[in-house]
C-alpha cells in the first residue's frame, strides 16, 4: 500500500457559491436590488417587510419578496397583503435558504409580464388554493427586470444562513430589543457578514430595558462601521430613514 495526498483546495460550499454567483449576475443584469434579511425567529423580519413593501409600492417602487420558513405559508400571506408579488419557500426542516432554492423559486420571474400591485380579490383567490398553487398564482405578473427590489426573508436562525450566499446585493441582520444586546457578540459570524443592521421593535425598548448604546457598540465591535437602523413596524418609527436608505441604494446601483 502506498499513501498519497491529493490537493483539492476546494470550498465545501462551492456548489452554492457558484449558483449564488450566477444569481448575482442575473440580478445585476435585471437591475434589481436584492436584500437578504437574516435574524433569529420572531425578530420581526416579516413585520418590517410588510411595512416596507407597502411603503415602497406607495412611493411607486416595484418590489417583490421570497420568504423562507421551515413550514407554513403564513408569512407569504402576510406579505402578499401589501400587493407585492410574493413566493413562500418551505425548506422542510432545512435551517437556512440556499442559492438553489432561490433559483428554483424564481422560475417564471424571468418571463415577460408587468409587475404591479395585484388586486386584493386575486390575492384572496390565490390564497385559497394550496400553498403551491397560491405561490404560483401570487407570483403571476412578476418579472425580475421590472423590479426595483427583491427581498428575501431567510429562515429565522442566527447561525446557518450566514454561510449561504444567495446572490444578494445587501445582507441585513436584524436584532430586536427583546433579544439582548449581546447577540452580535454571541453570533459574530452572522453580524460580521452583514452589510447593514436593523434594530427592531424599538417601540418596546423601554419596558425591555434595552441598552441602546451597548447594542450599537457591540454591533460596531463585530462589524466596524456597519450602517444601523432602528425601527418599529408597529408605530412606523425609523421607517423613513430605512426607506431612504433603500431608495438611495437602489438608485445608486442603477
Amino acid at each position: 500500500m502506498t499513501t498519497r495526498i491529493v490537493e483539492l483546495r476546494r470550498g465545501i460550499l462551492k456548489k452554492n457559491d457558484e449558483l449564488a454567483a450566477g444569481l448575482r449576475a442575473r440580478f445585476h443584469a435585471a437591475g434589481v436590488l436584492v436584500l437578504n434579511l437574516v435574524s433569529s425567529p420572531g425578530t420581526g423580519k416579516t413585520a418590517l417587510l410588510e411595512r416596507t413593501l407597502r411603503e415602497l409600492l406607495a412611493r411607486g417602487f416595484r418590489a417583490a419578496a421570497l420568504v423562507g420558513d421551515l413550514a407554513t405559508d403564513n408569512d407569504a400571506r402576510r406579505l402578499a397583503a401589501s400587493g407585492a408579488p410574493v413566493r413562500q419557500i418551505n425548506t422542510h426542516g432545512i435551517c437556512h435558504l440556499d442559492a438553489e432554492m432561490i433559483g428554483k423559486h424564481l422560475e417564471g420571474w424571468d418571463s415577460l409580464g408587468a409587475v404591479g400591485a395585484m388586486p386584493s380579490s386575486r390575492i384572496a383567490a390565490a390564497m385559497n388554493g394550496s400553498p403551491a398553487e397560491s405561490a404560483a398564482a401570487v407570483a403571476t405578473g412578476a418579472h425580475l427586470a421590472a423590479l426595483d427590489f427583491l427581498f428575501i426573508e431567510n429562515v429565522g436562525n442566527l447561525v446557518c444562513p450566514s454561510s449561504y450566499d444567495l446572490g444578494e446585493g445587501i445582507r441585513v441582520a436584524l436584532l430586536s430589543v427583546t433579544e439582548g444586546e449581546d447577540k452580535p457578540l454571541k453570533y459574530p459570524t452572522l453580524f460580521n457578514s452583514a452589510d447593514a443592521a436593523v434594530i427592531t421593535k424599538i417601540d418596546i425598548a423601554g419596558p425591555c430595558g434595552f441598552d441602546r448604546e451597548l447594542a450599537l457598540r457591540n454591533m460596531n465591535e463585530i462589524r466596524p462601521g456597519i450602517r444601523i437602523f432602528e425601527t418599529s413596524a408597529k408605530t412606523g418609527a425609523g421607517m423613513e430613514e430605512w426607506l431612504e436608505y433603500l431608495s438611495s441604494e437602489c438608485t445608486g446601483r442603477r
Partner: protein, 130 residues
C-alpha cells in the same frame, strides 16, 4: 445546525475526487475551517461519521485545521491576527478593522488516499492532469 449539509457536501466532493483513483481508499480528509465559518467541529465530526457510515468513506478521518481571523489594518499597513471573534480591532493600534483577510474559510484542503501497490501508476485522466 447545518453541519449535516456540510458533511454531505464534503462527501460529494471527496467521492468525486477519489473516483479518479481506482482501487484507492480515502483515509483522511483535511479541512480548513475559519473561526467565522460557523461550524461546530464536534457536530461536524458526528455528522461525518453518520453520513459516511456504510459507504466507501467509512472510517476516513476528518482533520480540521482552524484558521484564526486575520484583519488588514490600513493605518498600520499590516495583516494581523485578532484574538477571537468578538472584536475586530487591529492588535497593534486598536483601531476597528472591517477588512477581513482570513477566518471565513470552509474548504477541503486535501485528501489522503491509500492505493494498492502497483496500482499507483495506473493513472486516470483526472490524475494525469495533476
Amino acid at each position: 445546525m447545518h453541519e449535516l449539509s456540510i458533511a454531505a457536501s464534503i462527501v460529494e466532493a471527496v467521492t468525486e475526487t477519489a473516483a479518479a483513483y481506482a482501487g484507492a481508499r480515502v483515509i483522511a480528509v483535511r479541512l480548513r475551517v475559519g473561526a467565522l465559518a460557523a461550524v461546530v467541529e464536534d457536530s461536524l465530526q458526528f455528522c461525518w461519521s453518520v453520513t459516511t457510515e456504510g459507504t466507501p468513506l467509512a472510517g476516513a478521518a476528518l482533520a480540521v485545521r482552524k484558521m484564526p481571523v486575520v484583519i488588514h489594518c490600513a493605518a498600520c499597513g499590516v495583516d494581523a491576527e485578532v484574538g477571537g471573534v468578538q472584536s475586530f480591532r487591529c492588535p497593534l493600534c486598536g483601531q476597528p478593522a472591517a477588512d477581513l483577510r482570513q477566518g471565513r474559510e470552509l474548504e477541503i484542503e486535501s485528501i489522503e488516499i491509500e492505493e494498492p501497490e502497483g496500482e499507483a501508476l495506473v493513472a486516470s485522466g483526472e490524475k494525469d492532469r495533476r
